[in-house]
Symmetry: C6
Subunit: 206 residues, 6 copies
């Protein structure tokens, strides 16, 4: 067999240059980690393609994100027709690592929203939280490990579900220094905070 | 692997603000629980998408609910064409928890009916019961645990199959205090009771 | 996991009010049982949807029933175009119980024929038998248990394959009292006996 | 679970009244058996549906038969357009018994040819043999058991691959008495012998 | 279960009468064997159907062969539109025997080319070799066993990858007597040698 | 079973004559190896076909490469319509060997870019690296073994992710002699270096 040897390395924050690239926080058996959700659009009939060795639950998060934006297009100032005229591809590097769970929901919906609006994502921001179809943001586990990973990666702004606020109490203050937390109840709260008004360089015309 | 850590927490009733969001009652290995069925519509060709880590039997409940409404559109005052012009997405949070069984049938059909009519669902209401294609509501198990969970969650109105009436006898009166039970034979009984005449705020134009 | 607790209960005959609802006889590890096959039609392109936790062989029975009616439309006085203008959904409650085997064939084809003609099914009737594509009715097993279950459920008329006639000899007369048996060779024999000339109340216009 | 009890019974030959019904010879762990291949046509786009609890190899036999007839339509005096205007459903009773292997190939192709021509099949005929896409008939196993089963079932004419001629030598003459063997090299040899010039009663207009 | 008994028999070369029938060489656990690849065309939209109990790698060989011919239509003097107007069915008898591996690639591409051109294949020819999408012919294993099988079957001309030339050295001269070897680098080398200029009798009009 | 015997042989570099053929570096349990990615185009609706016994992660690499080129068509001077008018087939010989992992990403995207532009690939070049949807090139493992394999195969130019630069330090200078390394951050860096301005002989008109 021809197989790649996986090189594990701790990622660092990589800027907000690209539309559709958003930083998430993940929990792994060996501690927290940041991950990137990348969304790309191409002309088509509105299909959703998912890559990055994703499990079924994580794929459902992307389906929820896509559907939420479709049914709230007007609230976001989007022409509803773009959803049937553009195919969406969502990728989560790195391909050798299986990924699953619902906690990338907020990262997925922000990634898709940035791709469809071509607006920049707030700088030095990472996030974690499950989303629901009506737009709630649910709490997730592994908060301590995720925060340590965020800090190590150069993150300064973190979005969490309001229901995860209680999880910060169990973390030493020195670990929280230099981090700003933004607690949210809804997807709209996330997008209000995470999406900047300015467009990326050379935005795609949708 | 990147996996979410599941945080188990007992849910509370969350209001009736949204069209398509209905509270169900579930039985789990560690007791009863309430769950939410969320339905969202988007323009399309009438497909049905199901998320929330659902097993095959629970998916069939959603198919039955969709089909029942299609073939009884007129009884509900619905234009039959909406079923071929709107895609339906049904989601049951929380994604990390596998769910199965037929007992969410009544919750599914009420969720879809609320989404298609944009009518509010009665306040403080939860329900459990299997549905059949001809519109019967069949009894389900775990009634005692489900009722305890409903009370804890702030529910005051409960819909059950008439064939589950007998199950209340084995429950102490103090547990039933403050709860109103509505026993039903058919899906139409459920919708007559559960769907209010008033529309939600900012209803979707169908 | 959220799972329903299955409540086993012996069913009773439920009348002939609905088009497309037909009573069958099933064999289970704990004895005979009656079951209901429900068929619902909705405008579409002629697809066949099957629910009720059905195994592959039982699904094939529904495909055979659908195909038989298609290719014998004229014999039944049906406009052949209804098969390409109406989707068919066949459901067998109860969803928590896996079901398989070919013996529901006669029940399936009667259910579909009643749905497509909107004619009533004969009262207090139950049936069991495998069907073939050319229209034969083959014998099935478990006759004794099925007959006991039919009697207990309030059935008075039973359709069996002529090749199952011999199975009655091994059953005590007292168990057969009050039951009328109708032995058939073909699907047409079944429909001639089971489908009444009168339409159901508020028939669907096909 | 609701399951049928399988009733094993030795079949008898059933006449040649129906277009598309052909008698084959099968080998089972408990001896030879006859089986029936049934083909039904309905208006459509030319799909091929297969039922009867068939394994992949047996399904491939039906695909080969369908394709062979398509590409030799003219040789059979068939209008090539019927293959894109009529759906084909092939069924092999009995649904409770899994079936596999390539030996029903000649039976399948004769069944489809009879359905497409609406010509009768020769009386008291059974057959066994694998087919290939170019139209060869290959030898199959279990000849002795199959011949005994044919005789018991009332068959008098048997089609075998010429390469199975040698297998008759090992069978006692008394078992062969009353049987006429027709050894074939090609599918055309089979159809020349098996398909009568007369049409069935009330033929379908294709 | 109804299953065929597999009759193993050593095949003999069968002539070049048919378009689309080409002789390959296979390696099995009990020695070499010849096999036949059969291709049939029927009017359609260009689909590729594969039968004969083929494994995934062998199916990929057929896909490669089909694609290679599509993208080199002009080099073969073929109208590119035939690939979207004709369905291709490739079969490898015998259905009871599972087959896999890439070594039938040259046989597949010659079979398809003969079917699309309706040109005869060179007489007494067999071949083995893997193909790639750019048109290379790669060496394969089991050369010694394959050559013995070819000789026994009446083959006199053999096509091998040039990279398999070295494998002949280990075979005794007496086994090679009467065999002509043609070493190839590319699919075009194969087709130049294997396809005759003359058409088959009664060619299909494409 | 008919199976090919796999002949393991070390490959050599094979020139840059063909559009769409690019040399990659793979890691296997028995050391490094070079492999070839071949892309072929044929008129169609833009489907992507993948062959060569590829695992899911390697298939995702091809999907990423295809999507990246679609959404960056203008940057590459490509008419965006070619992606909906041409089907893409990507093959990795040799079919008998299962292949997986993300490290062929850069090879895939170069192969597709060469096919769509019909431009030659730089001579004596091999490469390894994972790609992401936004166009990053990630480091991969097995660098030492891959470099040895490249040298043995006649490669002189090697593209690696900049993040793999550190891996060269652990390799003896004598092994690196005669090799030129090109460290890249992005897919555009890869294509700038790997794709020559000159077209291949007899380019396909797109
Ligand atoms: Ca990493
Ligand atoms: Ca996350
Ligand atoms: Ca919970
Ligand atoms: Ca429920
Ligand atoms: Ca019951
Ligand atoms: Ca039954
Ligand atoms: Ca039998
Ligand atoms: Ca047979
Ligand atoms: Ca053989
Ligand atoms: Ca071969
Ligand atoms: Ca090799
Ligand atoms: Ca590589």
């Amino acid at each position: 067999e021809y197989l790649g040897v996986t090189e594990y390395s701790k990622e660092r924050y990589q800027g907000n240059e690209f539309a559709g690239v958003v930083t998430g926080l993940a929990w792994t058996a060996v501690g927290g980690e940041i991950l990137f959700v990348e969304t790309s659009l191409s002309k088509g009939k509105g299909t959703l393609t998912l890559t990055g060795n994703l499990g079924d639950v994580m794929k459902e998060s992307a389906m929820l994100a896509h559907e939420y934006l479709k049914s709230h297009a007007e609230d976001l100032g989007l022409n509803p027709e773009i959803f049937s005229n553009w195919n969406v591809h969502v990728h989560v590097p790195e391909g050798a690592i299986p990924k699953d769970g619902p906690s990338a929901g907020v990262t997925m919906v922000t990634s898709l929203a940035s791709a469809f609006t071509q607006q920049k994502v707030k700088k030095n921001l990472a996030m974690t939280g499950e989303i629901t179809l009506r737009g709630k943001v649910l709490p997730v586990g592994g908060i301590k490990e995720k925060i340590l990973a965020a800090k190590r990666a150069g993150i300064t702004e973190i979005i969490l579900s309001e229901e995860n606020k209680k999880n910060l109490e169990e973390i030493k203050d020195e670990y929280l220094k230099g981090l700003n937390f933004h607690f949210v109840k809804t997807i709209m709260d996330v997008l209000d905070f995470a999406l900047l008004k300015t467009k990326v360089n050379r935005p795609v015309k949708l």
